[in-house]
């Protein structure tokens, strides 16, 4: 590996004792465990790692810290893999992304020559005329869009998430972060320390390599982190964002941990900013911190001979560090004064390294790799004469604070003219900055700032409001250039490497009127690429500020939105949790090979399958109920107890009909409407005693009805208890002419009409099981609804099935029930009614007792009575007529006049029947309903009264109705 330096670095991340093999574009390379894809390729002298998104220019490592996406790769099972930070694995098969015919010979590389024909916002100005050509251009552009390619066959590998709790979450395990974590732990806090790198240490691990004190301090901190039980260190982990009330999701190698912290120290350090000069994107041009990371973490030399562009002390330290490792420093162009008189600069100069003051880079030479550079005076327009040969450009011209979390927590930044960098200007008292992002650069400054941060944070967490104000330890020298930008007549001086945006593009956007930071971003797309402006936003604001002739703060910043780094959907999704509610009789149904359907969270029986088709099985179930005996599990019904002195008063106010006069031992149909009079729920109200009611509600609305009743208790100041027993009790409905004969044998109370009249309610026992019996049924036959604790439902079902065997008892499901209830003309809330249906629309004026002085929705219903524009009507079709579907439209003189809400072939009546919501005018005129069915064909339906079947409801009250009676044709 030609660029691997032999001497082992102090805090190296690689294991030199083992070697991996991986393939890139088909060629085999060697690497060490701990190498990332980028470090491994660079170690092997491969510096061309990718092609840019728009112009397909050759690209290499520039930040080595995931602050850009130059180095993106794909394998068979993944894409958009970030080379800088993704460990290389043995046997990896890597390919570049968004190239055709390999990196070297990418067929789209010519696009760079046509750059001039693709200025900023070009796609807004072209391709839309003539219109018929646009689809062609759109396909062309869409093919080029996007980076990696997805494979539709990839399986989803959901990774479970978990919750974390701590007193103090420290973001960033650099010198400041480690100090803060140790100090907080010493003060008795439970601390979580998070760092996106595989090892803690941060800049101490790659920037202070020659400094003995720094290395010693680093080791002491690492040891204390290791030793202290109260500190949990999460490495290779990213805090994705700050969300309300100190909620910080951390993406770790083992899934996302959602941390609730009482206080947060944001010590995430700095993001080095590139300088803008012609061809500043060539492979080999990189930031000083990138070169130092390559050297100290991976033992990889960034180049053999380098020219350094310097505007801060860090540049000269990096130059010495590289020189000490064998990189020849051909010269340092000081485009900023800071650091030029420093100790490092003096050492370099005495070692023969030329330092050119007030000089910057005019142009970098070479295409797939740097071959040389020509310089220029920062003030003058004239290029320096000679060209300096080198294979690397090391840029150290400024920083931006990684203060995204602080911003999201409500903190704000301002530009510091001394440091030439943005620093926090305000922050919440329990989310505090520390370290270099707070302007503390020297090791002492970082340590003091961290200790101050923890002192103030803990005081705020303990609620001591007037603790001593926080003092700052910001450096007093510049750490960047005010204008790290050099113009060039032929451009190619990139501000945003992700989006391929040059200096002229941003100035052109501002010139065209997009002259505020948000419009500039949206028109030019600066900062909208995968690295979200980490390396581009500050320079973009500098360029806009200079173009508009205003200060950095006046120009403003764009909003820093989560996620700090992208996170996979499968990590966000986590474990698949689908709460599913099962009836107590679920296993019984499975034993009867039932077909299930989803009803909200519940699983319900649609029908019990038999040899014939489903529709035949359903018809059989319907006939069984009509002719002999059926049993249906209705355990999903809402079941609510209302007990106490004001029980009747609560129901009087909650239902549209009178409830106060309901006698104990009787039930009544109950209807609930919302404030605007729209039907919300219905069910049965049973009065068990003067101060005890038992309600049922539809399974879909039960929870909401229960909450509403509880709320009314508070709103109306009532003395009553409302208890939700929906899951505690099961329920089944025994319906059919044989129901009484069979049930008589099991219960301990008389069932004759006098003792237990229709709509009656009784408490009884089956064997030793306490049960409630309600003479109610949705299906219009002699029926008994049996409610009992879930633990006993199996025994009751078996007892009934056994007792009813001779009577031909047959279990039936929801589909049969829907037909049976339709034959009786009963509505289903949510199907025959919608978001605007009042009781008057649904043909239920009898359910609205406006004589009551008050009930929920009364004022609206009083206003609406008699003014309904739509009405629910019933219709029938001849036996041979094609069957309409629900929601087919009723057409009247070419206009929509209504829709079919329910329709089914009635096995009992031998022809299709249905309900339809139609315009009131049409409803009044007993005319035929013209229904437009599939294919546009019209069928005419004749109007009918409901109930279609047993209009007088004789069968429900018949003591022992003739069970063998053939259903009338």
């Amino acid at each position: 590996m030609p660029f691997r330096c032999s001497d082992v670095r102090a805090g190296e991340w690689i294991d030199r004792s083992r070697t991996l093999r991986f393939r890139f574009e088909g060629r085999v390379y060697k690497a060490h465990p701990g190498d990332t894809i980028s470090s491994a390729l660079l170690a092997n002298g491969v510096s061309l790692l990718g092609r840019s998104f728009k112009y397909h220019r050759p690209r290499g490592v520039v930040s080595m810290a995931n602050h850009d996406v130059n180095a993106l790769f794909a394998t068979g099972t993944d894409t958009n893999i970030r080379g800088d930070i993704t460990p290389v694995e043995d046997g990896m098969e890597l390919q570049p992304v968004n190239v055709r015919n390999g990196l070297e010979k990418d067929r789209d590389r010519y696009l760079d020559w046509f750059g001039r024909f693709m200025p900023v916002g070009f796609y807004y100005k072209a391709f839309h005329r003539p219109r018929f050509l646009f689809p062609f251009f759109e396909r062309l552009i869409r093919q080029r869009a996007g980076l990696g390619r997805v494979d539709l066959r990839w399986p989803a590998r959901r990774r479970p998430k978990r919750y974390g709790h701590c007193d103090v979450l420290v973001v960033g395990a650099g010198p400041a972060g480690m100090t803060a974590a140790c100090d907080a732990a010493r003060r008795g806090c439970e601390v979580i320390l998070v760092d996106e790198n595989p090892f803690p240490g941060g800049s101490l691990g790659y920037q202070w390599s020659g400094n003995a004190d720094a290395l010693q301090w680093r080791q002491r901190l690492l040891d204390e982190l290791e030793a202290h039980p109260g500190i949990t260190v999460m490495t290779s982990s990213v805090v994705l964002g700050y969300y309300d009330d100190h909620w910080l999701p951390v993406s770790t190698p083992d899934g996302i941990v959602k941390v609730r912290a009482r206080g947060v120290v944001v010590a995430a350090g700095l993001i080095e900013q590139p300088a803008v000069f012609r061809n500043n994107d060539r492979p080999g041009v990189m930031m000083a911190s990138a070169a130092q990371r390559l050297l100290e973490h991976f033992g990889v030399l960034p180049c053999k001979a380098a020219v350094v562009l310097a505007a801060n002390p860090e540049a000269y330290a990096a130059a010495r560090q590289l020189q000490a490792s064998g990189v020849s420093i051909r010269g340092i162009a000081a485009c900023g004064e800071s650091g030029r008189e420093g100790e490092d600069a003096a050492a370099l100069a005495s070692g023969g390294v030329p330092i050119w003051p007030a000089t910057t880079i005019n142009e970098v030479h070479g295409t797939n790799a740097v071959t040389g550079v020509s310089l220029i005076g920062t003030g003058s327009e004239v290029a320096a004469q000679e060209r300096i040969d080198c294979d690397g450009i090391i840029v150290s011209t400024g920083w931006a604070p990684a203060a995204h979390l602080l911003y999201q927590a409500g903190g704000r930044l301002r530009y510091d003219d001394t440091l030439e960098m943005q620093v926090p200007s305000e922050w919440p008292d329990t989310v505090v900055p520390a370290g270099r992002l707070n302007g503390a650069f020297t090791l002492d400054q970082q340590r003091e700032d961290a200790l101050e941060a923890v002192r103030c944070l803990i005081a705020a967490m303990e609620g001591e409001s007037e603790h001593e104000a926080r003092s700052l330890f910001r450096d007093t020298v510049a750490h960047g250039a005010a204008w790290p930008v050099s113009r060039h007549p032929r451009g190619r001086n990139f501000v945003d490497f992700d989006e391929d945006l040059q200096l002229k593009d941003l100035e052109q956007a501002a010139r065209e009127g997009f002259d505020n930071v948000e419009l500039l971003k949206r028109y030019s797309t600066v900062g909208m690429g995968p690295s979200q402006g980490k390396h581009a936003n500050v320079n973009a604001i500098r360029i806009l500020a200079r173009y508009m002739g205003q200060g950095m703060d006046a120009t403003g910043t764009t909003t820093a939105r989560p996620m700090y780094h992208p996170v996979r959907l499968e990590d966000l999704a986590g474990r698949r949790l689908r709460p599913t509610r099962l009836s107590p009789l679920h296993d019984h149904h499975r034993a009867l090979s039932a077909e299930f359907m989803e009803a909200g969270e519940w699983l319900r029986v649609a029908h019990y399958s038999s040899q014939e088709s489903p529709s035949a099985a359903i018809a059989d179930e319907v006939r069984a109920v009509r002719r002999s005996l059926g049993l249906i599990d209705v355990s999903t019904l809402g079941k609510i107890e209302v007990v106490g002195p004001d029980a009747a008063r609560l129901l009087e106010g909650s239902y549209t009909m009178r409830m106060g006069n309901l006698k104990a031992g009787m039930t009544r149909y109950g209807l609930i409407v919302d404030e605007s009079g729209v039907i919300e729920d219905d069910g049965v109200v049973a009065r068990l005693a003067e101060d005890r009611f038992y309600l049922s509600a539809t399974s879909g609305h039960a929870a909401a009805t229960y909450r509403m009743l509880q709320r009314h208790v508070l709103e109306w100041g009532l003395d009553v208890h409302v208890i939700n027993r929906t899951g505690q009790l099961g329920a089944m409905n025994l319906a059919g002419p044989e129901s009484r004969r069979v049930l008589e044998r099991l219960v301990d109370i008389p069932l004759d009409e006098d003792a237990f009249p229709n709509l009656g309610a009784r408490e009884s026992r089956i064997d030793d099981i306490p049960v409630r019996l309600l003479r109610v049924g949705f299906v219009g036959e002699l029926a008994y609804e049996i409610h009992a604790p879930v633990s006993a439902m199996g025994r009751i079902w078996d007892a009934l099935m056994e007792a009813g065997a001779s009577a031909g008892i047959r279990p039936f499901g929801v589909e049969a029930q829907r037909i049976l209830r339709l034959e009786k003309g009963h509505i289903i809330v949510g199907q025959d009614t919608d978001g605007l249906t009042t009781p008057f629309n649904a043909g239920m004026p009898w359910a609205v007792h406006l004589k009551k002085p008050f009930f929920r929705g009364r004022p609206a219903l009083a206003h609406l009575k008699g003014r309904e524009s739509q009405k629910l009507v019933a219709f029938a079709l001849p036996p041979d007529s094609p069957l309409p579907r629900e929601c087919h439209l009723i057409i009247e003189e070419g206009d929509i006049a209504g829709r079919v809400t329910s329709v089914a072939n009635s096995p009992t009546l031998g022809h299709p029947i249905g309900l339809a919501m139609v315009e009131s005018g049409l409803a009044k005129r007993e005319a035929l309903l013209q229904i437009r069915i599939d294919g546009g064909q019209m069928v005419s339906a004749r109007r009918m009264a409901t109930p279609f079947y047993d209009p007088e409801g004789k069968r429900q009250v018949a003591g022992y109705p003739e069970s063998r009676e053939e259903s009338h044709q």
Binding site: P160, H165, R581, S583, R692, S791
Partner: protein
């Protein structure tokens, strides 16, 4: 002992609601927790005060409240799952945002686990602590499946 789930069948549950509920408990020799959302142990079960005049009583089989109306007493069939073992907190940390390490024996907590509303009663005594989980009977199978899956995944991941 490794973290595990066991079904709890030895406890019968009753919900006591209404005026005179505290007195009814006293008459039956059952403890009355002073504050709401608190519980007191009672012969391998507990009495939890879930409301101003509302109690959930868990006791060995055989106790039937000799109460005249009111207060009102309703049978409860909650699904009861015992989660015990060294890493029971970590298992719960995948399913509930409440910091379980703050649950000391005798504590009562009502929250959401795996998207399902539950009550938790921290059991003391027998070594590896843990918690008794109660949920609506219709959601019992779901909650058991989820807890089993989390325990199995963690065993695979960390052993």
């Amino acid at each position: 002992m490794s973290t595990r789930i066991t079904e709890e069948h030895r406890l019968a549950l009753h919900q006591l609601v209404g005026p005179g509920a505290a007195e009814a408990l006293a008459d039956s020799g059952l403890p009355q927790p002073p504050g709401e959302l608190e519980a007191l142990p009672h012969d391998q079960g507990f009495v939890a005060r879930t409301g101003a005049r509302e109690y959930l009583v868990a006791h060995r089989l055989g106790w039937t409240p000799d109460v005249t109306m009111p207060p009102w007493c309703f049978e409860r069939c909650d699904r009861l799952l015992r989660l015990q073992g060294k890493t029971w907190c970590e298992v719960m940390s995948e399913l509930c945002s409440h910091d379980m390490r703050r649950m000391s024996p005798g504590d009562w907590f009502m929250g959401s686990v795996g998207g399902v509303d539950v009550w938790l009663y921290a059991m003391g005594g027998d070594g590896d602590g843990g918690v008794l989980i109660g949920c609506d009977p219709s959601l019992g199978d779901y909650l058991r499946r989820v807890l089993d899956a989390v325990i199995a995944d963690r065993y695979q991941r960390f052993n």
